[in-house]
Amino acid sequence: MISSREPTDQAGHEMDILIFGLISASVVLLSSVGFALILRTEGFLHIAHGQMLLLGAYTGLLLSNLGLHIAPTAIGAALFTGFVGVLFYGVLFRPIKARGALVLLFTSVGAAYVVYGLVGAIAGKRMLAFDLPPVRAFQLFGQPFMTVYELAIVIVAIASALCLHLFLAYTSPGQAIRAVSDDEALARVRGIDPMRTSYLVWFVASALGGLAGVFLGILGSLHLAMGWQQIILILATTVLGGIGSIYGVMLAAFVLAFGIEIGLLFVESSYRSGLAFLIIIVVLLVKPQGLQALWGGGAGRTH
């Protein structure tokens, strides 16, 4: 963390939960919506999405080290990651689309190892960080609130999710995406080109992932395992939100992030992603239909 926040009293502690929860929810949100979008339109778990975060973060670092300001760096990294996503779709996934979810899933695992391995070969295993000018946190009600970076991240993340919603709901390419994910054959009949829609989905989803990666790097540090760590959280969010439900995922990101922050009061911080899954497991145990029943679908079997 760039800012250091020493909790002074109980009120400060609760404030911390709120702030940390908000920040981590923002990043989880940004990483998960893209994953959910791909899951919804393509119907498989894109494990390599975690490595898109890694790619975004390290591309950002490269641009930043070239002397670019952090804002164009983030945009550049997102665009680059988006194009890699499009490339992945065109070269890897589109040709084997008909072979079923398991083949696509493990092709994605393969792609994840390729990205992970190549980034590792170039950047090495050391922990790295963005070289940003240090800033002090804003004060709010006499308590340290957020740094300008953190505030920007929260705003950008929430705004991106909101834009995605507006895009899906009100623009014609957005409606095409929804139509294709609901029923590809029907969409084709209505004159929508599923292929073009798919390219768009992959670009948007991957770019959001790349952006999330840069944000993760700004908030903490860059290390090779970050993609794998984040995909675990993304999967947890996906289960909680209901597989394939984009709006469910948006809500789940917040539920999960705050759940984790509260849970961390009781267990060590190294249990972070474990805690996310504990939440999921408890939800499934208590109510097999899970929270996702709220959005329809349900995780249970028909018999």
């Binding site: 493990f106 393969g110 190892y113 070969a121 289960v239 597989i243 249990y271 992603s273």
Partner: protein
């Protein structure tokens, strides 16, 4: 030359451990209906169970409270029991889930379990791990020859896993597993109880993976949480896909091909910075192999084949 042979023996031993995991995974995911992304859970639980039962009590600098120093065979049996029981416990809430949820939740359990190894120092000595663990039959041969003994033991374990999975595959129970994989609704009309059959096959796979955990410990002589990351699950899946899902022989060959692909480059000795690059490229190579296999030979090196019956009727049997 000597070094090369020892390296090959070591790779074969590791291949045998992977082979056991592949056979276990093939049983539940190739033959059976379970898309399990948490096979490493049982591998780890088997390994830790074995170590905690057989290791000596903790030294001053260590903090685990168990370490009973029991005989190895008790540890071996216990590792299988622990793997099976763990599968039962995980299966209770998860086997009622749809396949894609099962996939994620088993991955989740594996991650939670790994974090337990890393954090609960009183139980596992945490990330520091436990080093210098005993190997079986160590004192019977000169140190130089021990790796051959270990290889023989690993192959014995592999043969055991082969016999168990093959026998299940040929049994009516194996057919029930396959029927569930192929068409669950129809299998139900044949009177097959999906929960019960899935649970049993999941437990057997868990027990075999637990046993593989013991061999993993014998191979490395140490145990640390880092050995039980989700990577291993993906590697075992990759090996199985390369070899051919649903085919016993494929599972076996896949394991050794994978080791060749992933670990053979380890023989090249390089210095510091280059070693990191090489390790990373090795991982990328595995990813590339997985992509290419799925693209151009999705059934793997040995695809599933129709099961035929050499002898159809008693009359034919008599004639033969």
């Amino acid at each position: 030359m000597e070094g090369l042979i020892l390296f090959a023996v070591s790779m074969l031993t590791l291949g045998a451990v992977y082979g056991m995991l592949c056979l276990a995974l093939n049983l539940e995911s190739g033959l059976g209906p379970l898309w399990d992304l948490g096979i490493v859970s049982f591998f780890g639980i088997g390994a830790y169970t074995y170590v905690l039962l057989t290791a000596p009590p903790a030294a001053d600098h260590q903090s685990y409270i168990f370490g009973f120093g029991l005989p190895m065979w008790i540890g071996v049996v216990a590792s299988m029991v622990a793997g099976g029981v763990a599968a039962w416990l995980i299966g209770l809430p998860t086997l009622k889930l749809k396949r894609e949820y099962f996939l994620i939740v088993t991955l989740a359990f594996a991650e939670v379990i790994r974090q337990v190894y890393a954090n609960e120092e009183w139980l596992t000595n945490g990330v520091a791990g436990i080093y210098g663990l005993q190997q079986p039959l160590r004192s019977t041969v000169p140190a130089m020859q021990y790796s051959y003994v270990l290889l023989a033991l690993a192959l014995l374990g592999l043969a055991f896993a082969w016999a168990v999975t093959r026998s299940i595959g040929a049994s009516p129970f194996g057919r029930a597993c396959k029927a569930l994989r192929e068409n669950e609704a129809l299998a139900i009309t044949a009177g097959i109880d999906p929960r019960g059959v899935s649970m049993r096959v999941y437990m057997v796979a868990g027990a075999l993976a637990g046993l593989a955990g013991v061999f993993g410990v014998w191979y490395t002589t140490l145990i640390i949480p880092g050995q039980f990351e989700a990577d291993l699950t993906f590697f075992v899946w990759a090996a199985l896909i390369i070899g051919g899902i649903g085919n016993q022989r494929g599972a076996l060959i896949g394991a050794f091909v994978f080791i060749l692909l992933h670990d053979a480059l380890r023989f090249i000795q390089v210095s510091g910075e280059w070693a990191v690059t090489l390790t990373s490229l090795r991982t990328a190579l595995v990813g590339l192999a997985l992509i290419l296999i799925l693209r151009f030979r999705p059934e793997g090196l040995f695809g599933e084949r129709p099961v035929t019956f050499a002898q159809r009727t008693p009359q034919e049997a008599e004639r033969a």
